[in-house]
């Protein structure tokens, strides 16, 4: 357990290092409680946006008198609103996310930590959640990660507290998407009221390629069940075809739900300099 904690700590530290200088992007018309971040709507911030003609009922404190003196017309100064949008990071905490011999869990935690750090810099009010074997998400902290021990993957469930959630904000789901069911339907449900859903599909290379030829005992990391089969060229070829179809279905489901889909092969992004490249490329993170 101590070694696991050390791993999680290292992963979080790596995420923080990787996120240096990056902020989480904000979607158009992001909403949230009054905060420090500039919204896209009209608000009370000091950030000037434009003028408009005065209309009855407008706050006379916002009349630009100097403009009135020049133009003899009552003009209202409009400023951008200050918002503090919500960022909800959901980590799939099922056992499959910690596949032995792969950096899948480390990458997932590092991504979560980087997004936390980038979101904080962008003025997001961030909350982190972990999936459970139950029907709802549980609050979590990447800096005190309890481990990947779930027997099922339910990363698109609702947060345990109704007051939480990413209403009007951003939801980032870090998962390997290895669960049965209709992904598109779950995504649609999870997108209600959320401005931007980002699915970070973290997989290991071993998830995508067939085992070596020969007799093999495949042990399900989550359920513990096992199968034995003889892997030959035909089986390997069929498996690869199935993986291709599966990846395509994940991408299509995200596209149908207007979610941003980012696939990360853990072994390819395990280094700090490469960890966030796919996120920057997808516009999720941007330089500050």
């Amino acid at each position: 357990m101590d070694s696991d904690r050390a791993r999680w700590t290292d992963a979080v530290a790596m995420g923080h290092r990787a996120a240096a200088g990056l902020v989480l992007s904000r979607p158009e018309r992001v909403r949230g409680t009054l905060g420090e971040a500039l919204g896209t709507g009209i608000g009370q911030s000091i950030e000037f946006m434009d003028f408009r003609e005065y209309e009855p009922g407008d706050d006379t404190r916002r009349v630009d008198w100097s403009a009135f003196a020049r133009t003899d017309r009552l003009m209202i100064r409009r400023h951008r609103e200050d918002v503090s949008p919500r960022l909800e990071i959901v980590i799939d905490s099922s056992r499959s996310m910690d596949l032995p011999g792969t950096p899948k869990a480390d990458v997932a935690l590092a991504l979560a930590a980087a997004c936390e750090r980038g979101g904080a810099r962008a003025g997001y009010r961030t909350s982190t959640w972990r999936s459970t074997d139950g029907a709802s998400l549980a609050p979590a902290s990447v800096s005190q990660w309890a481990g990947f021990d779930g027997r099922t993957s339910q990363p698109f469930a609702a947060p345990a507290r109704a007051s939480a959630g990413a209403f009007g904000g951003v939801r980032i789901v870090i998962t390997d998407l290895l669960f049965a069911g209709d992904l598109a339907a779950r995504l649609r449900a999870a997108s209600i009221g959320v401005r931007w859903v980002i699915v970070m599909h973290v997989v290991a290379r071993d998830d995508l390629r067939p085992p070596e030829p020969g007799p093999m005992r495949l042990e399900d990391r989550e359920t513990g069940s096992a199968v034995e089969l003889h892997v030959d060229a035909e089986v390997a070829s069929a498996f690869e075809a199935r993986v291709d179809r599966y990846l395509a279905s994940c991408r299509d489901a995200c596209r149908a739900a207007r979610a941003t889909y980012i696939r990360l092969v853990a072994e390819d992004v395990r280094a700090p300099e490469s960890l966030l490249v796919p996120l920057v490329r997808a516009g999720v993170l941007r330089p500050r």
Partner: protein, 590 residues
């Protein structure tokens, strides 16, 4: 009962050990954790309970592979099946050469062929079944004969082949035999004459049915439209009187006696008889009185009625024209026809005439800047395989060629080289070029000159449609060229039988085993040729002997084991195919 032909092949069964070991070790599946079995669903057969296990189909595939190895090992070990007591069929080689038709009135029966038939009948009666091989230029398997079928199987044995290659037939018989051959040769000669040592072949029995008798033969015959010449030879130890009758007529069935010539033939000496060609018809036959061998007593000469070659001389140089004209006239096979030539001999660069072959003499250009000719006195290198230089002798000749010589097309075929310089060559179009400065050369004054011109005339004549030769020795092909289409031609033999002959690129090649007049029909055209015996080796009967050499080994009812290699091969293929099919089905099911 089974028997192993090659027991060491059983060592192949040792392959079973590693095969089983592979299966034993392979059955220990390697564990591999996966994130989820979701993507593997369907690859395995579901079983009840938590564990979904599909055992690979090892036992059945292992059984099949073991079976394949066993079958292949049996094949390697040549496992044979016993068929019961089997006797090896004796093989009898039958000499089918012309000399087997020799007659000796002092023997019974007089014909060597009949005596040989009696002997083979005895053998067949004794053995029950005999395999017969006909010895000709190439051996021919007649089939298996019983006393009842012997006459039918032996029908092609008529003593009408130009020769019998006994060693080749013997080799064929040894190939036909399996492990305990018994072979008999029925011929009219001694083993030494055929180059066979009976002592070296314990399985061989040599039965000679020949008789040493004197014989007179026509050993050569030729004719022109005006005269005949034929050679007679006595294969005897003392002088012999012979009478040759000349017959002629419109066809081979309507010949009339034209004259008779008597001659006394010294032993082993050839007498050449010349005679004017009888004018009763185009077909001429020469016939000797009956003697030991009838086949060489008659020669039918087909008419060589090809017209002379029409030649045109376009030669400006007086000396060259005179030399060519004189040589052409001497051939007697060419006429000057300037209007419709088949052969154009020229020393100018005039365009070629359609349908004619050109012989172009490349002499001095006569230009003011022309260099002196270059003369050669030999050695001259002649392409002896080409008929254009057949019999051409340039010894002592001076051959001068003009300088500078015209460049030679790389595709040309040099026929005569003076030193390294081609002086006679065939250009790529098939025409002939002769480089010669006639004034500085002595070639036209040598015997090689008329020979060269003769060859040129024959070369042109042989390119005409039809038969190049009308009198052909038995065993040689007749070649008919220039046929207008590739429709099959028809060969009509002396006995009236007709046989289609394929035509390829306007050429039909026929080979007949019958003596006498043949006819080739193609469309409206008819060509006649004669097949003549004219084989010295067959006519000389003095070394023929009656003998019975060698003894067959006792006919043991041997072995009776038949190799089943093909069964094992098919079995192995079948097992492997089944193995492959089952693996495919298992994969499909997965």
């Amino acid at each position: 009962m089974m028997s192993l032909g090659l027991p060491i092949g059983l060592w192949a069964l040792a392959a079973l050990a590693p095969l089983v070991a592979i299966y034993v070790f392979q059955r220990n599946s390697r564990p591999r954790p996966v994130s989820s079995l979701l993507l593997w669903d369907g690859f395995v057969r579901r079983t009840s309970g938590r564990s979904r296990v599909q055992r690979p189909p090892f036992p059945i595939s292992l059984l099949l592979e073991i079976l394949a190895i066993v079958v292949m090992a049996m094949g390697l070990a040549d496992l044979r099946a016993r068929l019961g007591a089997v006797r090896e069929l004796p093989i009898v080689i039958l000499d089918n050469s012309l000399s087997m038709g020799a007659i000796d009135t002092g023997a019974s029966p007089p014909s060597a062929l009949d005596r040989a038939r009696e002997r083979v009948r005895e053998i067949v009666r004794r053995e029950g079944v005999v395999r017969l091989v006909l010895a000709e230029e190439t051996p021919r398997l007649l089939g298996d004969a019983t006393p009842e079928t012997l006459d039918r199987v032996c029908a092609p044995w008529r003593a009408d082949a130009p020769l019998a290659d006994i060693p080749a037939a013997l080799a064929a018989a040894l190939q036909l035999a399996s492990h305990a051959p018994r072979i008999a040769v029925l011929t009219d000669g001694m083993p030494a004459d055929a180059g066979v040592e009976v002592e070296a072949h314990p399985e061989l029995r040599w039965i000679g049915v020949g008789r040493a008798v004197a014989n007179i033969a026509i050993t050569d015959a030729a004719g022109t439209t005006e005269a005949l010449a034929f050679d007679l030879r006595a294969f005897a130890d003392a002088p012999v009187d012979a009478a040759a009758t000349l017959l002629s007529g419109p066809d081979a069935d309507a010949l009339r006696v034209a004259s008779t010539r008597g001659v006394t033939l010294a032993p082993d000496r050839i007498a050449t008889i010349r005679s004017p060609r009888p004018d009763d018809g185009p077909i001429v036959a020469i016939r000797l009185a009956d003697d030991a061998l009838g086949a060489d007593n008659t020669v039918v000469l087909a008419p060589d009625d090809r017209p002379p070659v029409r030649a045109r001389l376009d030669i400006a140089h007086d000396g060259l024209r005179a030399a060519v004209h004189g040589a052409l006239h001497a051939t007697g096979q060419a006429v000057i026809d300037a209007a419709n030539p088949e052969l154009v001999l020229t020393d100018s660069a005039q365009p070629e005439i359609t349908g004619a072959r050109t012989v172009r003499f490349e002499g001095s250009s006569g230009a003011p800047d022309a260099k002196p000719s270059r003369s050669f006195t030999g050695p001259f290198v002649l392409e002896r395989t080409h008929r254009l230089v057949e019999g051409v002798d340039l010894t002592g000749a001076i051959w001068a060629i003009p300088e500078p010589a015209t460049p030679l097309d790389p595709a040309s075929i040099p026929l005569v080289l003076a030193d390294t310089m081609p002086v006679v060559y065939e250009d790529p179009s098939g025409d002939l070029r002769i480089r010669i400065d006639i004034e500085a050369s002595t070639v036209t004054a040598t015997p090689g000159w008329p020979a060269l011109v003769w060859n040129i005339v024959r070369w042109r004549a042989d390119q005409r449609p039809g038969l190049a030769r009308t009198n052909i020795p038995l065993g040689e092909p007749a070649r008919c060229i220039g046929l207008e289409s590739d429709e099959p031609a028809i060969l009509v033999r002396p006995d009236g039988s007709r046989q289609p002959v394929p035509v390829a690129d306007g050429v039909a090649t026929v080979m007949s085993t019958q003596l006498g007049l043949h006819r080739i029909e193609h469309g409206e055209h008819r060509w006649v040729f004669s097949v003549q015996p004219l084989r010295l080796s067959e006519s000389d009967l003095r070394s023929r002997r009656t003998c019975d050499l060698g003894r067959w080994p006792r006919a043991t009812e041997t072995t009776g084991f038949r190799s089943l290699s093909w069964v094992w091969a098919i079995g192995a293929i079948g097992v492997l195919a089944l193995h492959s099919r089952m693996l495919r089905e298992w994969s499909d099911a997965a």
